[in-house]
Symmetry: C2
Subunit: 641 residues, 2 copies
Amino acid sequence: MSSVDKQLDELKTDVEQQIPNDITVTDVKYEGPELVLYTPDPKRFAGDGELVRKLASKFRKRITIRPDPTALTDTTTAEEKILSVIPEEARVTDLDFHHDTGEVVIEAGKPGMVIGRHGATLREITKEVGWTPEVVRTPPIESSTVSNVRNFLKQERDDRRDILERVGRQIHREQLGREEWVRISTLGCCREVGRASFVLSTADTRILIDCGDKPGAEGEVPYLQVPEALGSGANSIDAVVLTHAHLDHSALIPLLFKYGYDGPIYCTEPTRDLMGLLTLDYLDVAAKEGRAPPYESEMVREAIKHTIPIEYGDVTDIAPDIKLTFHNAGHILGSAVSHFHIGDGMYNVAFSGDIHYKDTRLFNGAVNDFPRVETLVMESTYGGRNDYQTDQADSEANLVEIINETYEKGGKIVIPAFAVGRSQEIMLVLEEAMRSGKIPSMPVHLDGMIWEATAIHTTYPEYLRDDLRDRIFHEDKNPFLADEFNHIDAGEEERQDVADGDQCIILSTSGMVTGGPIMSWLRHIGPDPDSRLVFVGYQAQGTLGRRIQTGWDEIPVPNPNDAGRTSTLSLNMDVSTVDGFSGHADREGLMNFVGTMNPRPEKVLCVHGDERSVQDLSSALYHEYNMRTFAPKNLETFRFK
Amino acid sequence: MSSVDKQLDELKTDVEQQIPNDITVTDVKYEGPELVLYTPDPKRFAGDGELVRKLASKFRKRITIRPDPTALTDTTTAEEKILSVIPEEARVTDLDFHHDTGEVVIEAGKPGMVIGRHGATLREITKEVGWTPEVVRTPPIESSTVSNVRNFLKQERDDRRDILERVGRQIHREQLGREEWVRISTLGCCREVGRASFVLSTADTRILIDCGDKPGAEGEVPYLQVPEALGSGANSIDAVVLTHAHLDHSALIPLLFKYGYDGPIYCTEPTRDLMGLLTLDYLDVAAKEGRAPPYESEMVREAIKHTIPIEYGDVTDIAPDIKLTFHNAGHILGSAVSHFHIGDGMYNVAFSGDIHYKDTRLFNGAVNDFPRVETLVMESTYGGRNDYQTDQADSEANLVEIINETYEKGGKIVIPAFAVGRSQEIMLVLEEAMRSGKIPSMPVHLDGMIWEATAIHTTYPEYLRDDLRDRIFHEDKNPFLADEFNHIDAGEEERQDVADGDQCIILSTSGMVTGGPIMSWLRHIGPDPDSRLVFVGYQAQGTLGRRIQTGWDEIPVPNPNDAGRTSTLSLNMDVSTVDGFSGHADREGLMNFVGTMNPRPEKVLCVHGDERSVQDLSSALYHEYNMRTFAPKNLETFRFK
Ligand SMILES: [Zn+2]
Ligand SMILES: [Zn+2]
Ligand SMILES: [Zn+2]
Ligand SMILES: [Zn+2]
Ligand SMILES: [Zn+2]
């Protein structure tokens, strides 16, 4: 009998001692980090709201109750009863019964009303029908990504349960309890931006954190082949943790599965969906640009299948000696500061991932409050001595002024923007400005992946700033549903109509004018001297966006009639840049994030910044706060305990 | 056809172009780092002294000529001819013909006379008989270690050729030529003395340097199980380099073979023999103390079989991208500063191993002159601010005085000493003092492994200080053969006789009075108030030696009549300590070694010292020479390129 089986046997006996004699538990299993109890008495568990909570706190595990098939009401009757229990305002859009697990997935416009106060409605459902309800939100804006992911996971349920059971046994395996030490190895994004990847290791466990690419530097991928990463076998890695979906952190996650990795990926639910969206687009772009993609789209599906989503604040066992907790990072949807609690308090490490420290319209500022933290691995994108950003209020006033000027001249406003994060922030600025009359109401056309990314945002309002979340919960106040927003979904023809039409604002990808529909908009509107091109995001060296910023006005655009060729376009429209909408904390924000961190870490590794930024930030943190700071190189290993 | 076979094919063609048309080369193979040419014309190669030298410099390899069996004179005739070519004063003691390789191993008292000027006599032998002569020294003092090793290697010749061929192909495999980087990972002896072990790695190659135990700290072994060491498979290591035979560097080398390692060990020839002696004794001591030895003596033989000996100054390919050169370290017999030339000049790293910077009676001071060196990994045993040692001249005067005093009182002198190194140094001091009349001539009894270790020293005089080497070459001047020296080889009875006899000096192991025959000497002589116990080496915390130094005079000794029990002994003899005979450089020596190093390294990792010593030395090197210095912890990885 394996040590895990022995452990489960003992757990079963312990559980039986904690519950009334007349409730039966037939089996106890791990599924991922959760403990699953099989019972012919699901209604009894549902009848006592305290019972599961007591077990969870006693065993320090998340507990799932799984009913025996015998305890389940037939689906026709069950559907009727469930719909009678849930208030109509919850707007249930789908019920999906899974006989294998006794779960019923309820998709509803207002999940909170399905859950009820402290889960009262959920328990009511189980008491009525025996089934275990699971609730998901009906996307307020239809998202093909979300529905594809959900359908795919539905179809792969069997495989997924096998994976979860295997992962569960792996997490709860016997700890070898050899020496106690904690190390971090750097595989990328040290003294550079891009290819974020780290290994956090103990004598028992190895965790890979992020696995991104380096945009604009093909072939510079994380050093995955070294022995401390995948060099000693893809499955020498116990778990992968993904801080957020940006490609410089996620692009090569699917590649791990091509290399034979078969373990879990921990990230938030929106990060999972955005990773799906962005990595598939990454493959698309590679194909369009004639580069061999590093993996097939099948591997993206593998990654999604192996994802175990975690919510902010949930303390989750991911290895015998490591607990992971995500906290809001304020950077993009689902982005997480990742906190690792190691060896029952022996050591604590936080990875900032990418952060924004102040509140924005879209997100609350990054969390920097932890039970304990000795070492912080800190992003340093704007860590340079002079990397201060304009206040967002000033930036917004600036943008409003530019829009009004252009509107008065009768021109159109074209804004190249990243699909995820910055677009939604600008949408919120525009919506508010129109609602409050700071700018005239006019159509805002959303092109490229922006609409789809916005739909994903509205599916996960819990991950947005609290007042925004509240507005999305009330359909009539959901700013993303404002009448002015129009999804460009009919291609060139629609663009031509828009270009020929009245004054309007256009938000389009790509954000750095390196391809995508923005090229088309430039062709349509670029020649118009009354219109204005407004940059709201960082334009990297070597991109067309940067060239236009620095004064180029003869620009190459793809010939619409002949794919392979480009023609030259005279750019007559005005060009403006509005700073201050970055998703990254500026120098002040980074310093404050560390300076107000509770508790103050002893050591900080400054990463994810160019050479000068990491050195400046490292030195400032040392002098200001008297911490031990490091500016690691790639391929180094630091020991902390 | 493998890339190595292709390479050898091309080499054969190239060789044929370099040699006269009428000399045939039938095959070309690698054996370890050497290139072996098979030929039916060995006499032709021997006839032209320049030919092999030209080939070696052209191909930058050591070249071995191996004759076809057809070219060999029958052994009876050959023996006769060989003995007629070699001058009688060479004192040939053995001729050993190996038909498989066409080699004849000639053991002689004066190997230099077998070699002749620039190898002239060797070439003469081949010209006469076709056989390839190989010369070894007849140990001037019979050494069972040396003869066991030689006999074992003779018996394992077939296996060994297989190993060498495999290693040769491994060394000359195609280089993958991926990224260029150089890293050092620390597996032990950081902020501590003991369990020396490092991994030097590039994208292509991993070298393990040393693999010792930590005396007095059982269970604290090098972190071999981490992925950058053996964690990704014992044979993910390309080669092992052993700086010297002390157990804190060598004890766990045989363990590697138990773990499945099957590659080469590079060290000097005396290090190989001393490693055999010391690791077998290590197993013995473990057994006697009732500890489970970590490996069987069979593994020591495996280690010896896999050893490829290298002489000081020989540049040797040990991997496609790494050349190793050993230099005298002045610490113990065969100890080597190990220089790694990486990636055809991309980077150079030197590992000091343990060093003594000044000349001693036994050894020249450590070499610190290299073609290039960017990073130095530096021992720091006496790196502390105040770790200055008495000058050896003063120490010797001190010892002489103590001996004379004791002699006048009619007492005996008992000196606990380490078998390897310090004993021979003291023997040289005593021999010189008697010869020059500074102390009266009296017997010096050598007990424990001291005699055997001395025999090994005299087998390899090339590794001793130059003037000492010259004296050993002239038998009548060999100081170790002085009449006063007596090998205690008849056990307790002989000890009793000595104890009952006249004034004398006794050198006995163990050096820290932790066991061995010194315990017996204390029982015999300890109660005599006219005799004197003299410490000449460092006594570690927790050892009986240290306790006696600090004043204990009631000491536990094993009961000679009842093994398992101890009795208490009143120590009435005087106790003295004479500093200054250390095998390690003191603080000044370490600073000078680095300060006068040519060229001065950019970076220094201070290791092999307690916390305070490495920090002090690291800080002193930084402030004095403005170098980048580090005091690594175990389990860290530093990247240098
Ligand atoms: Zn990001
Ligand atoms: Zn990033
Ligand atoms: Zn040593
Ligand atoms: Zn040592
Ligand atoms: Zn072998």
